[in-house]
Subunit: 470 residues, 2 copies
């Protein structure tokens, strides 16, 4: 799984200078080569090495993005779309240099069609900004990857998060996209109909394409009515398998659950310290139910029956909004909490996802490997989808430890793929997961992706070096 | 909206003969040029003119399909994948001649993973065959386009049907595909994980591609637990708008409905005659609810409250299984019932889909147009998705009437697209809807689809002349 060396050279400073000169009259101080801003626009969150762009530009409209794309394409200058920079896998790095196209100022909420339960937003609107805007109309946008990410970035990385088990992922909640193609053409991929059989599914092709086929400038999203009733709580288990068996049984019985999250004993310890909780330090499920009062009561009762069989302690309900907020804030802060387990260490985010019947085995074998490898590595998972994150905390200066940790990650990914799973349930490929693509899709699958990429972006200027090796 | 003339000539009989000669030793009498069989493998269901293939072949395995594809590609012979031939839009026609690849004998149910609520089937398995197989395990596959179509064909056309409002379409219920690409390579597009952010969404690109990018040989599907409780019934309304308003309100209130189907007064009359019902001849909603008993009772009560405001008569429940079967059989036979309204006439299937807020206006304006155009044209719809079918019944020998009817269809499609809808919610593009693609996607969107097609199928041998004009 050693990556081949990149074949594409860095763009020449001459080409960059020519493109920037062409753009400067239109963009003025919305185009900057400031080193601090450039550094902020490279990978910052994980231990993927940062590779800053040559410059950063802040368009206001789709037409401005199209102008930028045409200019960059004319000079073969790479373009890297940038939302909030909260991805883990090096998506916003500029390995060949080029221009970071930041959608920060594309914040218009173009339309909220409450009657249709949908909306149109510019790519730079974040999920919390959207939710603040539509809450007064009794609506919400459910996809919640933790970070307050931009909706363009979430679409580009096929994001999901804690409540995908009920509401699906970005794949399911995007109705249409406006995209600027590498040739500068603007395409709207679909209308607002709930379904369509018209032609190739351009929307789904672009969701998860990580900006390698074009730059998303507008996103049409499904909205949902705010749940009438929400019940949430947490429940301790004697071991991972008991917790996983509860999850498996819950899904198999068709219990309609909005969130079902597993935190292992290491992660619970981290959350207790970081978020000042006093949960028993044992594998724990956080759950939440949404619906009408009778439906929620019915589902809660069913889940309770299942959990009682496997749990090691009582279910604790968090029915007051402030208790729920406390619970889910702790869950959302779990990354930072985990980092606190080994101060100074850096986390290696991982994201495998397996068929749910394989979940207990996959996590179990992974935990054995964590111990055998001598790692500090809490586990947290969107287990209703079979998706879990192990976060090995490593001393970046210790080459031997790093190598051991990456060997562990390679084994975990190979294990998940052998179980018919995937190397990434929601983080995306970016740079760091490219080495697993051949294992997951085979040479023919990878060749098909390369064919698509080359056809749509023949100059390889759209976020080059992401998803596929150059 | 006049189609440009086809630019691609018919394949030479020499090339066909060479390909058939190469295939005959391996396939024996599973390769046939029998005229009757060839005719059966062209469009038969609608009034799209039939264009039979030069020969029909019946592979047994993915590897056999790959062998066929390599041979045909070597001779530039078009290939037309064939499932049950129940599509309406000319998908199985062979406008340039070539080989129909019939998956009739690819009937293996490869795996049922009850624990994961999924299964793997060969492309020729039909939805009813699958349901017969998994029912004993308490499972079902919900997508129901009416016809007992093959699951490969349903994936290829992004089919849906009466219960998409709850269970989604083929887009949402296919986890992975095995496909033979135009170059003969076999690709498995994904594993069985419930979600993945790994690379381009090859699965979704192929769903709805109508066999123009490759031939689907295996389909991995989501299954669902059989609903614990089912409640169904029907309710009359004074007019279309009252029925539509009931639908809109139901969806907006988040009532979890499994089916909500509209039949206008013309269609009800047809169903009464064909299925020996005695429903009041007025616009009617057929509805069904699935879930736990408490949840279903809650949803039924809510829907009842909404319907009472708008309906012109009492809700009639069909709670006995035989009454439900009678109701839904009548609904499924509606196409044949409609044809009975004008014996000897042929139906022109249509399939627009609009945002639900536009539904009443779209159907209302369409009904005005039906009257103004002097058509017999019942309406039936999966109105929870904003999708409805008008079936103009035309005398095929009357050119003037045909022209009037097609003018009507063109206006209806333009109206739906202007309302941000689509020319096809579930039937697909095939041959007959190609002329609407530019209106729906614009030149740039269409050019993007063409780029994808040309890159993956440079010889244009995979179901040529479908989705895009050659």
């Amino acid at each position: 799984m050693t990556p081949p060396p990149s074949r594409s050279p860095r763009v020449s400073s001459h080409a960059v200078a020519a493109a920037l000169d062409a753009l400067r009259p239109q963009f003025g101080d919305r185009l900057t080569e400031n080193p601090t801003i450039r550094t902020q626009h490279a990978n910052t969150l994980s231990r993927v090495p940062s590779e800053p762009p040559d410059a950063v530009i802040f368009p206001l409209t789709t037409d401005e993005v199209a102008a930028i794309v045409r200019t960059c394409a004319a000079h073969s200058v790479p373009m890297i779309p940038f939302g909030t920079g909260t991805s883990f896998e090096g998506h916003v790095n500029a390995p060949r240099g080029g221009l970071s196209i930041d959608t920060l100022r594309m914040k218009r909420i173009v339309a909220v069609n409450a009657d249709d339960l949908d909306c149109v937003v510019e790519a730079g609107v974040t999920r919390m900004e959207l939710n603040d805007h539509v809450r007064q109309q009794g609506l919400f946008f459910p996809i919640d990857p933790g970070a307050d990410a931009s909706l363009g970035g979430m679409a580009a990385t096929r994001a999901s998060g804690t409540n995908a088990v009920r509401y699906g992922t970005m794949r399911d909640n995007v109705l249409a996209l406006t995209v600027v193609l590498p040739n500068g053409e603007i395409v709207r991929t679909a209308g607002r109909a709930r379904k369509s059989s018209a032609g190739y599914d351009l929307t789904r092709l672009l969701i998860g394409a990580e900006g390698t086929l074009g730059i998303l400038t507008e996103v049409t999203l499904r909205l949902h009515g705010l749940p009438e009733q929400i019940s949430a709580g947490h429940c301790p288990f004697p071991d991972i398998r008991a917790a996983c068996d509860t999850v498996i049984r819950t899904i198999q019985c068709g219990v309609s659950i909005a969130r079902i999250e597993l935190l292992d004993e290491v992660q619970i310890k981290a959350c207790n310290a970081y978020s000042r909780l006093d949960l028993p330090e044992t594998p724990t499920l956080f759950v939440e139910f949404h619906g009408g009062p009778a439906a929620v009561a019915e589902q809660v009762e069913r889940f309770g029956d299942i959990a009682r069989e496997f749990s090691s302690g009582a279910f604790v309900w968090a029915d007051r909004p402030e208790d729920r907020t406390r619970l889910w804030t702790a869950r959302h802060n779990s990354y930072w909490a985990a980092c606190g387990l080994r101060p100074g260490a850096k986390g290696i985010p991982t994201d495998v996802c397996v068929p749910i019947s394989q979940l207990a085995d996959c996590i179990g074998e992974t935990k054995v490997d964590i111990v055998a490898t001598g790692l500090v590595a809490p586990i947290i998972g969107h287990v209703g989808d079979g998706n879990f994150h192990v976060l090995p905390l490593v001393d970046d200066s210790d080459k031997a430890e790093l190598e051991r940790a990456f060997g562990f990650v390679d084994r975990m990914v190979a294990r998940a793929i052998a179980m018919e799973g995937t190397c990434t349930g929601e983080h995306g490929i970016g740079q760091s997961n490219r080495k697993y693509m051949a294992l997951e899709f085979g040479d023919a699958g990878l060749a098909l992706m390369r064919t698509i990429k080359r056809a749509i972006d023949p100059l390889n200027v759209m976020n080059p070096g992401k998803i596929l090796f150059d």
